[in-house]
Symmetry: C2
């Protein structure tokens, strides 16, 4: 049970305003909702009464009466990560333009499934007009089933088989771009340190990586896996640094790349002379890593706008769609990718 809450606070209500302005409560409502057929004098009188009383209308009552609300819910988790938090921010900015309010339910704590369930439950109960699921992992999706039919859904980084409107960054292409870029620099093959298995993006990037290797007939080296953190990148990097063949690495994201770079440096392998590396995300500080990190940028702003568009479409037409949008990533070349030096020359230079 919840901690017993104290007696409620109730402010002035519509009829108080009405009394003060000498009109009926309905007229107040009309003024508030911008209905036509209210005389200018009445309107100003009502507005004045509202101001004097400090009246604010009760959203709950409004939602109860109309059955609609103009708030859309966002279900998000891992919001301390750069990707998800940027996404939320972007959706928020897009919503601002559509006169929609955003309620963000942050999935916190250990049990993601239970937590997201609770959040969806609450969002629905609050009468959210639509829901955006930031669902880069399956756990988030499970809660989608709790959403009643009438409420439109858009997922971000969801899976096509969910049959729900979705917008994703084209991680597959991103993976290809990264790999091709490394290949184009002259590397025989590219090693990949993937992100957590459960993340859809990880899988798509891996697929892109494999596809790009296959294009040129390169053999895929064994794939390593990291979390999204620098720490996990460092762990993997310590192994990679001891593999002489490993001259080109495509990292799960920028922070993982950072960890790997550190491990490489500790092992005395120079970047990009000995090893080239490319990240993913383009976090704001990536350009200031040492050396500046070449990476694949995700345009989260676009993602947010598209997600909102998809949601508004459904809201307007009233039918659930399964339309999906892809946002293309872009390569940001910086200083961590170089042409591999043939071993012979390297040897010659050494002494």
């Amino acid at each position: 049970m919840s901690t017993a809450l104290p007696p409620p606070h109730r402010g002035p209500v519509m009829s108080d305003v009405a009394a003060r302005a000498g009109v009926s409560h309905q007229t107040v409502s009309r003024v508030l909702n911008g209905h036509p057929h209210v005389s200018a004098t009445t309107r100003t009188r009502v507005l004045a009464a509202i101001a004097e009383l400090g009246y604010r209308r009760n959203l709950s009552a409004r939602v109860l009466a109309t059955g609609r609300s103009n708030v859309i819910g966002v279900v998000a988790q891992n919001t301390t990560l750069y990707g998800p938090s940027s996404m939320v921010q972007a959706i928020g900015e897009a919503a601002l333009g559509a006169d929609l309010s955003l309620t963000v339910g942050h999935v916190a704590g250990y049990d993601a499934t239970a937590a997201s369930r609770r959040i969806v439950e609450r969002l629905v109960q609050q009468g959210a007009a639509g829901l955006v699921f930031i669902a880069p992992v399956d756990a988030a999706a499970e809660a989608m089933r709790l959403v009643p039919d009438g409420v439109p859904i858009v997922t971000v980084d969801g899976l096509p088989e969910w049959q729900v409107a979705n917008v994703s960054v084209d991680q597959y292409t991103g993976g290809m771009m990264a790999t091709r870029h490394l290949l184009a620099a002259g590397h025989r093959t590219v090693w990949h340190v993937a992100g957590p298995e459960q993340w859809h993006g990880s899988r798509a990037r891996e697929d892109g990586w494999r596809a790009a290797l296959a294009e040129v007939g390169a053999m895929a080296p064994p794939m390593a896996r990291a979390g999204w953190s620098a720490a996990s990148g460092y762990q993997v990097g310590r192994m990679l640094a001891r593999i002489p063949d490993c001259t080109a690495i495509f990292a799960a994201n920028d922070h993982v790349a950072l960890g790997i770079m550190r491990a490489l440096a500790e092992q005395g392998r120079r970047i990009p002379d000995d090893v080239s590396i490319i990240g993913f995300d383009d976090v704001p500080e990536a350009g200031y890593f040492h050396p500046a990190l070449t990476t694949i940028r995700q345009e989260f702003g676009d993602v947010g706008r598209q997600a909102l568009r998809l949601l508004l479409d459904q809201l307007a037409t009233g039918v659930k769609s399964a339309e999906s949008a892809l946002v293309e990533p872009v390569l940001v070349p910086r200083d961590t990718v170089g042409t591999p030096v043939p071993v012979a020359i390297l040897e010659g230079n050494k002494t």
Copy 2:
């Protein structure tokens, strides 16, 4: 105006459940609210009916009827920054334990004041039981005035003069710790690159820095200012790198430190041999910078818990308090602080 929304969606209501279970709607309510004096058989019958119908209770109606809600609002901005986003996360986790739901209003877009006003407005209208303002800048606070008297408030990183319950990281002490640490390593004085002027934390850290210098009678060098980004740190760093006297730098935060480090490196100044530097925040990847960054960690988890405690206290007692809590930062020594090499020795080594 909002885009015209389609007809509402209405699910089964309490009386539907009641009819199905063969009881009155009030009994259903009792079951839902865990009231005593409901027989076991009735309870199971009601529960069954609820499950069969897929009934979910309408939060708006509930809030309307009771005048209270168990959701607390969080007003946040700059949520892509590490600090604020960690804060939100921490509060969310703390709320989970108190059976409270969180609604986060993300202040997005250019006009922070207008945006936060809208958010507060909505949160209040939704009947939030209490509000947490993440208010590291004054803009956020301005909207606090819109909150009606009955609704308790807690600020995070707010100012004492606001007369509101507040929890902050002790930035002043943090600034002192950083400066002392550098001083203890043997530096004559410490340069400071401060964060944006409007942020309260920036000012407190600056004060701490000055105080620590004063303690040992060191002269305060001119203070530089950066944003919170690596890019801005880099800009400032390019100047600092050309100042031979500058051997110890206390940076606004870790990302600024990163930017400075890069500028230093480009200028050929070695860290920590030539210049020592210390950051603030301890972002997860700070230990993987090159070299690993010595920094001051802020315990955001503690902040979140304290904020919630303060809020719950007010909720329970029903009186607004102005109690405030301070969370102590902790020094995380790593590899960017060293003992300055006397110029003579330096010269001797050079050739």
